[in-house]
Amino acid sequence: MIGPALVEALGRIVGPKWVRHRRAELRTYTMDGLPTRESYPGAVVMPGTAAQVREIVRLLHLTDVPFVARGAGTGLSGGAVADPDAVLVSLTRLNRILSVDRARRRAVVEPGVVNARLSEAVAPLGLYYVPDPSSQSACTVGGNVAENAGGPHCLKYGVTTNHIVQLDVVLPDGSELRLGSTHGEPWGPDLVGLFVGSEGMFGIATAITVRLEPLPPSVRTMLADFPTVRAASEAVSSVIATGIVPAAMEMMDRACVAAVEASIYAAGYPTDAAAVLLVELDGQADAVAAEADIVQAILLERGARAVRSASTPGDRARLWQGRKKAFGAMGRIAPDLAVQDAVVPRSSLPDIMDRIAEIRDRHALSISNVFHAGDGNLHPNISFDRRDADVVRRVHVACTEIMAACVEAGGSITGEHGVGSDKLGYMPLIFDAETLGAMRAVRRVFDPAERANPGKVVPIHACREWRAAPGARL
């Protein structure tokens, strides 16, 4: 639905080889990490500079064409998938680290910089970029900003929003803005905080100033295995109640451990355990050693059968190996993997795990759990084959039931993967019509024509109508 004239005009901005519009060329862009949504974009354009992004967006504004920003396409909620009437703006060529300020612990990066590359680049300075989604070797900082991504180490250090201080953004009408300040104090209302997590619907981030943190002098990783999921969940709460905040607390259930151990990523996890808990402490060596003793005692007291502990990089990597590769290992069980994401208050973990098991059994599905236990962020992952329509239906029903159960427990429908198109239908479970209306109205301040990533996040039919901002751009 994107005409040849527009394709040509885009080519004039970026050079013809950076515009894709033939069906075969578009194939790679029809999906992101969500297996249940597939759509061909009208065209893909790959800008090489921020100035080109602005020109592209300006052109799309003048021609009234919707667009979708795309980083690495690892999103799990369908956020980076575009309809045929929209142009997909792929940002992977914008992959330069623009500057690093060691003294102030800041870096300025382009949005297409891959998360793990940034930490690697600043490691020689003794610094790192904290948010570490499991997809960090592929996903981009721009995508992280849009999704407010998390990761195992966000328990102690916070998620993406806690590490972004300034953003250069191109609004959907092609105008440019700088939000926030390098110092971290917002310049006016906290528009950086508002933009982070807006899932590509407020505009495109073209330069991102992040906080860097010093690499911890000492790290201790512990792996405990438990006879029941409940005991492991209770151990998590007991640790937090001491006031110790581990850098990470990650849990894997029996199904997940079995998948890992059956794969080439086998990490030597005990396959007869009902749950395996990874706890990582970091900080100064004396503090880490003392806290490790306390944590180990709690884990044993709460029923851990054994606690393995490692401090050298090699040994730690072995303990983490299974966790880091869990998604890959689960991906081998069946052709498709629905990676779910929901949150419950930590105290509800034991009950919700029972509920998920019950839902799994009732729908005869294969679910493995690997998740950020410390902050109650669940990832029940359903292995299935999308060619089987009946299984797809059961997967859908089970997901809906899991979401409802998490909401009932006082939780949320997503902790880090975003709403995208996948979770539109669940939004009314946690937000009333007034609040959804307010979200839409805020979106329309940034994007009055609703052309940036249309149709995501806010289920428009469920919104109470808010007055559009008077004098909103066009």
């Binding site: 003294a103 102030r104 998390g150 916070g158 806690n162 440019e176 803005l177 939000l179 300040s181 390098t182 110092h183 971290g184 104090e185 917002p186 310049w187 006016g188 209302p189 906290d190 528009l191 905080g193 508002l194 807006s198 619907m201 002098p217 937090i240 001491t242 006031g243 900080g283 100064q284 004396d286 503090a287 050693a289 003392a290 806290e291 949150v343 208050p345 105290s347 950020h372 902050d375 006082g410 939780g411 949320s412 997503t414 902790g415 946690i430 937000f431 007034e434 609040t435 959804l436 209306g437 307010a438 805020v442 301040v445 940034f446 996040v457 109470r464 808010w466 007055r467 901002a469 008077p470």
Partner: protein
């Protein structure tokens, strides 16, 4: 007019829900979020201006308005969950009351805002006034998981949620924290708590300002993890010299280790405060900002701290001043004419340092605005966001100045 307003409010809230302030202005005292939203809707329909008041311990409650809305009857701690370290609290709750309630259950809210202990939670959120603990625990927004807000036209918006990790929908809470009430009146908030630390130790070093700021940088480079590392002017600390205060909280081992590592830093005589002196010291610092009618905060990092204090000392004074050495925040309290304050803001802006007017009498707020001029294009966006949350412009809040700064 005032009688009409008073009468309508009484019809809405009953006699107990309305009073008059010292100047005779009708003051609504809603005791629920729903009642608050009704008041806002009435004001919106009638075109009345609202002055937001928390516990009313603020400066002169002086914004010109047709009615005041006080959150002081919204003072319930709705729920506390020790297992989840989350509390739901109404916005008018005084911080001190909340602190006591949480301490009883072994928890705390790691915020130590300037001002008096009876400050309302809503005012701390609306003004985003974090204190020295910002170094270790982050700015106010990091403690707020979600909030319920009555908009200027009386809608109730429930932003965020009650869990620590949550990315459902746009993060509207960020707009409310630090929004100075310009995007609505906060009725209730979900807060992130922490387990009370086993150890809480504060050490003080005294000396020349330059020596102390350089010691603070050394402490950062040595990777100490203080909860607070605050430079305090002599008057603020009630001492003869400048003071660098380091506070460590956590397990005994972690705190003792950091105290040992601090000892050689800066060649200073670090003196620990005895436990009975610790809380009084920090509340003295918090209250210390009372020495003048105007309080500013400037965001600045690292080496910029010295330069910025020089700037303040030169253009204003360095009497009541504190600086978070690692958190990048300087707070100044005093008195100065509007033009001088405007000049400081301009000089700071030229160095890419944002300056926020935290408190001041209305004429100063009106002239300067809490934020003053924005970067190019941002002002239009903020204006439209305000229109969305307060279409009738009922909330009498001066985010931008009137004094012709324009956009930068």
């Amino acid at each position: 007019m005032s009688d009409v307003v008073h009468g309508r409010l009484r019809a809405l809230l009953g006699t107990a829900g309305v009073e008059r302030d010292a100047a005779g202005l009708p003051r609504a005292i809603p005791d629920s979020a729903d009642a608050l939203s009704l008041v806002c809707r009435l004001a919106h329909d009638e075109g009345w201006k609202i002055r937001i008041e928390g516990q009313g311990t603020w400066l002169p409650a002086d914004a010109p308005a047709d009615l005041a809305v006080s959150t002081r009857a919204l003072d319930q701690v709705v729920s506390v969950s020790p297992a989840d370290l989350v509390a739901t609290v109404q916005a008018g709750t005084p911080l001190e009351a909340l602190r006591r309630r949480l301490a009883d259950e072994g928890m705390w809210l790691a915020l130590d805002p300037p001002g008096r202990p009876e400050r309302s939670l809503g005012s701390i959120m609306a003004t985003a006034t974090a204190g020295p603990l910002r170094h270790g625990f982050g700015p106010v927004r990091d403690h707020v998981l979600g909030c319920t807000v009555a908009t200027g036209d009386g809608r109730l918006v429930k932003a965020g949620g009650r869990v620590v990790k949550n990315v459902a929908g746009y993060d509207l809470t960020k707009l409310q924290v630090g929004g100075f009430g310009g995007f609505g009146i906060i009725a209730e908030a979900h807060l992130r708590l922490r387990a009370l630390p086993r150890a809480d130790v504060t050490l003080l070093a005294r000396g020349m300002r330059d020596a102390l700021t350089s010691a603070a940088r050394d402490a950062m480079a040595a990777e100490l993890v203080p909860a607070a590392l605050e430079l305090l002017s002599p008057a603020l600390a009630a001492e003869a010299d400048w003071v660098l205060a380091a506070r460590f909280v956590g397990t005994d081992a972690a705190v003792q280790g950091d105290v040992r590592r601090l000892a050689p830093i800066g060649n200073l005589a670090w003196q620990p405060l005895t436990p009975d002196k610790t809380a009084p010291f920090w509340s003295l610092v918090a209250r210390g900002s009372q020495g003048g009618p105007v309080t500013l905060r400037l965001g600045v990092l690292g080496n910029g701290v010295d330069d910025t204090i020089d700037l303040l000392a030169h253009d204003l004074d360095d009497n009541l001043l504190s600086a978070g050495a690692g958190s990048g925040m300087i707070r100044w309290t005093g008195d100065a004419p509007v033009e001088r304050l405007r000049a400081v803001r301009r000089a700071a802006a030229a160095r890419e340092i944002p300056m926020t007017l935290e408190r001041a009498p209305w004429p100063v707020r009106r002239a300067l605005g809490h934020f003053g001029a924005y970067r190019e294009g941002v002002g239009q966006l903020v204006g439209q966001l305000r229109d969305t949350f307060d279409p009738g412009q009922c909330l009498q809040v001066a985010l931008e100045g009137s004094g012709g700064d324009g956009e930068r």
